[in-house]
Amino acid sequence: MKLIKNKKGSDKVLSIYWFVILFIVSTGIFGMVYVYYHAPFNVRGAEGDIMANKIVECISQQGKTSSAWISGANTNTQASNTCQNARDCQKIIGTKIASIISGIKNTLPADVDSSVKQEDVAENLNCLVLQIAMQESSLQHCKQPQVNGNPLYCDGNRTDVKALDNARETSLGVLQVNTNVHSVAAEYFDLSVAYAVKNVLITNYNQYNAGNLFASTNTVYSGWKAAIRGYNGWGSGGDNQYVEHVIGQKDYVNQLFPELCSPGATTIVGQKKDIASECHLNFNSEFKEQQQYYVQVDFYDLKTFQVTTTANGEKITSQPVATVFDGNENLKADCELQKDKNFKIQSKCVEKRFYSVDEKNNPYIINVLSVIRKTEKNAVQ
């Protein structure tokens, strides 16, 4: 009898627990079904793929690419390479620096341009490096501004490269990389610029971003100011007002490079071209406030084309000979972020790469990037 009583009690308790479990499970199922069917269909990947295919068909017909695409664009490395006066030579050197930075941008932090601008040290990273180059060498890689119109006549030739040799340092080139501290062949222009940006400026930014005391003036520098300070060194014997001097170059650099450094200027080195019209595309959409599309086409010389394989896939390391783009340039920053992780609410980026030749049978690797935003209709509601 005692046993039966106990059994009845456990039955009732069990049924209450059963309903509690049922309630929890059904709430979970309701929630999952609601979230699943409430989320919009994300078709941006397919859309980006179709757009990239359209551009490929438009640029290359039966494997031939019109040289108008390449010669009509700002050729990044073959742009007017000669100069007669110091200012024109500075422009050539500066444009080449910006082009090198664009080439290594995918290895730098994604928000680098916006953080530089936010701290009001320069308009973007390109301009900050140009300001440093202006302070370090007056944008001059060689001892003379030019020889026979060539501002890079000394490239790779240690004896003709602009140098500061003393007991403290042996600094070379346009960004005066101290070869006593850094093991790099700084007499080579491309190499020294890429090294100075990645291994000196960005490294200092990552290391001292939170703030560091510069004992010589008892000043605490943080963010990009700390990176600039670190570029000149934290010890004594350097320029104690280096940060202020670099920021002071802002106006001159903005005047010299309005296409790169005027407020709101694009950091993409290349030419804005009406790709939409030439390829029968319409960039208008139901989103009236801003364009939802961006396309960029990079032309690489096949002979010098190089890629490196990383954990996140292939990365192009060579410089494009020409770049054209169209649409909303602000969307490109989303692609940099998505190289590490796929963020749903950001624009979807699709890249396609193909081989083509021009009329003179010059071979090119052409990289097409298409970016679709339309976030409100594909990722969130």
């Binding site: 039955d11 049924s15 059963w18 309903f19 049922l22 059904s26 199922i29 309701f30 079904v33 609601y34 069917y37 919009p40 269909f41 078709v43 397919a46 859309e47 179709i50 757009m51 295919n53 359209k54 939409a276 029968h280 595309l281 319409n282 960039f283 208008n284 959409s285 139901e286 939802q292 599309y293 209709k377």
Partner: protein, 136 residues
């Protein structure tokens, strides 16, 4: 006395079990109804149709006529008593509409002159024809 007690007890357990089974069935019925309503909702079909048509137009070339089976969408429109065209194209925006109160629009980037018609050739309308006339 003892046997009456056992009989009474048995009946009590049966009633509890019936209530338990009925409540469980109600739970699952509501759940299944909820899932089926959500999965066949007008808004869902409209979004799917508009995006599908926009992608088809994006990948199409001038001169193409593409037929799409729209039976599900047409059935839904019939249930909603909606008798107008369920797909319309204005400029570069496709709109799918299965009832008077709803509708979903999505844009395409291919700069073509496109139009959508119900395919009346087979008598009963099951398909829609997307006609790509030429570049604008």
């Amino acid at each position: 006395m003892s046997s009456r007690f056992v009989q009474y007890k048995k009946g009590n357990i049966l009633a509890e079990n019936i209530v338990f089974i009925v409540l469980t069935l109600i739970f699952f019925t509501i759940l299944i109804l909820f899932i089926s309503t959500k999965s066949s909702g007008t808004a869902l079909i409209e979004e799917e149709t508009a995006k599908q048509v926009a992608l088809i137009i994006d990948s199409a070339k001038p001169g193409m006529i593409i037929k799409i089976n729209m039976e599900d969408a047409l059935d839904k429109a019939k249930k909603e008593n909606y008798k107008k065209n369920i797909i319309s194209i204005t400029g570069n925006i496709v709109t799918a509409k299965l009832s008077e109160k709803s509708g979903y629009s999505y844009s395409f980037f291919n700069k073509v002159d496109a139009a959508a018609f119900p395919d009346t050739l087979s008598g009963i309308i099951k398909d829609y024809a997307i006609v790509i006339k030429g570049y604008k």
